[in-house]
Structure formats: structure tokens, C-alpha cells
């Protein structure tokens, strides 16, 4: 049984791909309405963790979602080629029809992510990185999710684009959506996340960002000293 206050509980989660152990004995929980940031160096298994949570890769241990959880997933990479003649409208309408949503719902999710109707007629290959990420978030919102999983939504996007994506996610959280997000932006994580899960080959750290992300932990996780500055506080965290 999952605690009523939690959206997700994970106990002793391990994932092996072939002979390689990617994740070992992970345990954490995500309270409803909170935000969890997942950080760690490349190859530490962040995306695999998300895929295990949605049941896309075989795993040991238990993953328990709240009975009323509806998951919206925003992947980092698409299987689809971006330069096919597929528009924002094609994607959103396909998702809306499957979710039995109305045309008005498409307008509503677009405004929630700060996009205009103009985006609908454009090919997905012509959108900027930031616009495309927000389109994918709008796409996920059509399923009326209670939990949103975002895999590095700001990777490869220019800074204004990053801010708009981060702002979008923050607003969704204010609306009560539980957010799990993989991120490389440590300063964003510290400002925004309720909890942080820090993955590395040897150790896993989980807790409140300001307590977990000490210089010693960051050095252990990333294998080199990492200076962490928070924008509204010029002092490094110690």
C-alpha cells in the first residue's frame, strides 16, 4: 500500500541491462504536489530510472504509483525524425482524440505552456528547441496528468528558452502537478526542487537540495569539484 500523501514510492529498485548494473537498490518517495530533481553525470542511469518508473525496462524492487496517478512523460529524445511533415496540430490532435479531449482543451494546454495557436500549423522540425519542449509538455498535459516526468527539458536550449520552460514547469507545480525532472542545472535544482535524487556509479544521495548538494557530495558524484552558485545568493553552498 502506498501512503495517501505520496504520488510515488520506490523501494530497492535495481536495473540491469545485460551484464551491467545501471541502478542499484534505490529507495525514495515523492509526495503529491512536490518536485523531485534527478541529477547525476552522464551514464549514471537517470533516463533508465524514468523508464523503469513507467515500466518500460525490466527491474527488481517495487515501484508504486498512487492509485489516481496519471503520468505525463516528456522524453529527452523522440523516436520520430524531426524533419518529417508532422505539425504541432497533428501531434496534439492525435493525443487529444486518444484522451477524448476537445479542441478547447488544445487551446487550454497551449496557453498553460505559453504557446500560441500559430505553433499548430508549423512543422515540428521548424520549431526552436524551447518551443518544441513546451509543445511536448502541452502534449503530455492533454492526458490531464497528476504527475509529470520531464527528461532534461532544458538540454540544448538557449537561455531565454530555458527560462520559459522552467517557468512553465514551476507554474504547473503550483497548479498541483507532481513533477519529476532530470536536470543538469544545479542552480535551478536548488531553487526549485523539493527533493533531489543524486545518482552516480558508487553512491546515491536523496534529500533536500541544500542539505544534499554539498561540495563534497558533488565532487564524489561528478568526480571533480563542482562550484554551485544560486542566482539569488552569490555565495557558494557549503
Amino acid at each position: 500500500m502506498i501512503l495517501p500523501a505520496n504520488a510515488l514510492e520506490v523501494e530497492h529498485l535495481s536495473v540491469r541491462l545485460g551484464d551491467v548494473e545501471i541502478l542499484r537498490d534505490l529507495s525514495f518517495s515523492v509526495p503529491k504536489g512536490s518536485s523531485l530533481a534527478v541529477i547525476g553525470p552522464n551514464g549514471s542511469g537517470k533516463t533508465i530510472l524514468f523508464r523503469a518508473l513507467i515500466g518500460a525496462v525490466p527491474h527488481e524492487g517495487t515501484v508504486r504509483w498512487a492509485p489516481d496517478a496519471r503520468i505525463g512523460y516528456v522524453p529527452q529524445r523522440l523516436d520520430l525524425e524531426r524533419n518529417l511533415p508532422v505539425t504541432g496540430d497533428d501531434l496534439l490532435r492525435a493525443r487529444a482524440r486518444l484522451a477524448a479531449a476537445q479542441s478547447s482543451d488544445i487551446e487550454r494546454v497551449l496557453s498553460r505552456v505559453g504557446l500560441t495557436r500559430e505553433i499548430l500549423g508549423k512543422g515540428i522540425g521548424t520549431l526552436s528547441g524551447g518551443q518544441f519542449q513546451r509543445l511536448l509538455i502541452a502534449f503530455a498535459l492533454l492526458g490531464d496528468p497528476t504527475v509529470l516526468l520531464l527528461d532534461e527539458p532544458t538540454a540544448g536550449i538557449d537561455e531565454p528558452g530555458q527560462e520559459r520552460v522552467t517557468e512553465t514547469v514551476r507554474r504547473l507545480q503550483e497548479d498541483g502537478v507532481t513533477v519529476l525532472m532530470i536536470s543538469h542545472e544545479l542552480s535551478v535544482v536548488v531553487r526549485w526542487a523539493t527533493n533531489v535524487l543524486c545518482l552516480s556509479r558508487e553512491h546515491t544521495y536523496y534529500g533536500i537540495p541544500r542539505q544534499v548538494l554539498t561540495p563534497e557530495v558533488l565532487e564524489q558524484v561528478y568526480g571533480e569539484p563542482v562550484a554551485l552558485y544560486v542566482h539569488d545568493d552569490p555565495r557558494p553552498i557549503s
Binding site: 523522440l78 511533415p85 497533428d90 501531434l91 486518444l98
Partner: protein
């Protein structure tokens, strides 16, 4: 048959399986060879081999998404070689390039039924296929049984190849699926247009190819593919300008 090929082809581009799809169509050949050896209808043998090939691709991709294109290329090229040994002479030429003039009533009825089934599936599953080929993880969280849908699509693809075997043969049917879709991709601005153009071009190539064959006495299959390929070249040239 051409409508089914156009629809299946447009989604094959989305799935990035143009090579795998072409290779899959070659697996019909050993099926035809075995069918002739044991004395059953060659098309029935081809259908069984194709559906088996589709399940094989599906099972390979389930295990790993890496390097399946290479495995598929090897397995199905080998199938082509085995098929070439089993079938001989005129049979081989018919199996490779098609022989439309020997169509029986039974085959016509089976063909039309099969084509209707593929078209109905493609139209009914369209939205779910868009999600699946966009991202299987997204499709999964939207409540889609991604394994089942992926298998159904591959079976639809295999059935479409089987439908065209009589007309185009094992070597050329893959082309009628892929070329109109690849052409449509260059003209279309959205998904509806892509599906429309892909279907339209497949039907156009089939009708015109068959008409030229009828008037000149040449084989139908190669002419259909030549018409389709000419459309592709024409569209590419016009777009370059």
C-alpha cells in the same frame, strides 16, 4: 492494395524502418519456394513466411533496439538466397518480379479482403501509431500497449507485402510501399497531406504502370516501380529548384 501500401509506407518512414521493410519483403521468397516444394499455393507460403518475418523483427527489437537493422539485413538477405535455391526458373522470376496475369478469383477475393483489413487497421490505429512512433515511452504512459501495437503494425506491413506479391513480386513490393511515402514526405506539409499524397501516388503508379504494361506488353511490376520512382525523381528535381 496500393492504398494499403501508401498508408503503411507513410508510417514506415515515421518508424524509420524503410530498410527493414524492404528486407522483410524478401523473406517471401523462401516461403514461395517451400510452398512449391510441398505443393501448396505459393502465395499461402509467402504469407506465412512474411508474417513469420514480421514476428521475428518484432522479437529482435524487443530484445534490443541496437543494431537490429544489421541483423534484419543479414537474416533476410540469407532468406533471399535460400529462396533462390528452392525456387527455380520461371517460378523464381514470377516470385521475384510478379506475374499479374495469372490471378485467380480466389486470389482476388483474398487480396481485396486483406487490403480492406490493412486499410481499416491503419485508419483505426492512426493516432495510436503516431504516439508510438513519436516515442514508445510516451505511448506507454498514454495507456497504449506498445508491444501489441508494434506487432500489429509489422503484421499489417507483412500482409501488405503479401498483397502485392502477385503484381510486383518479392523484390519490388517493398518499393511500392516506400517510394510513394518518400515522395509524399517531400511535398506534404502535415500528416494528413503526407498520408493523402502517399496513397495517391501509390495508386497512380499502380494504375499507370499497369496501363503501360497492358498497352506495351511489358511486365507490370517493374513498370509500376519505374512510374513511382519517376514521380520521386520529378518531385525531388522540382523541389530543388
Amino acid at each position: 492494395m496500393a492504398v494499403a501500401a501508401g498508408l503503411v509506407g507513410a508510417f514506415a518512414l515515421m518508424r524509420r524502418m524503410t530498410l527493414a521493410g524492404d528486407a522483410l519483403s524478401h523473406v517471401a521468397l523462401p516461403g514461395i519456394g517451400v510452398a512449391i516444394l510441398i505443393g501448396i499455393n505459393p502465395l499461402a507460403g509467402a504469407l506465412v513466411a512474411l508474417l513469420g518475418g514480421a514476428v521475428l523483427i518484432w522479437a529482435l527489437e524487443r530484445r534490443t533496439r541496437v543494431a537490429t537493422e544489421a541483423i534484419i539485413g543479414v537474416v533476410f538477405s540469407a532468406a533471399l538466397a535460400v529462396g533462390a535455391l528452392l525456387a527455380t526458373g520461371e517460378q523464381l522470376i514470377d516470385a521475384l518480379f510478379g506475374a499479374p496475369r495469372t490471378l485467380s478469383t480466389w486470389e482476388l477475393v483474398a487480396g481485396l479482403t486483406g487490403a480492406a483489413a490493412v486499410i481499416a487497421f491503419m485508419l483505426a490505429a492512426r493516432d495510436r501509431l503516431v504516439l508510438l512512433f513519436l516515442s514508445s515511452d510516451v505511448a506507454r504512459t498514454a495507456g497504449i500497449d506498445v508491444q501489441r501495437l508494434g506487432l500489429l503494425y509489422l503484421l499489417a506491413f507483412a500482409l501488405t507485402v503479401a498483397l502485392g506479391l502477385r503484381f510486383l513480386g518479392a523484390l519490388l513490393m517493398g518499393s511500392l510501399i516506400i517510394i510513394p511515402a518518400a515522395t509524399a514526405r517531400q511535398v506534404a506539409r502535415n500528416l494528413n497531406q503526407m498520408l493523402g499524397w502517399s496513397v495517391g501516388l501509390a495508386v497512380f503508379a499502380t494504375v499507370i504502370g499497369a496501363w503501360i504494361a497492358e498497352s506495351t506488353g511489358h511486365e507490370t511490376g517493374p513498370l509500376i516501380v519505374i512510374v513511382a520512382a519517376s514521380c520521386f525523381v520529378l518531385v525531388t528535381a522540382v523541389r530543388r529548384r
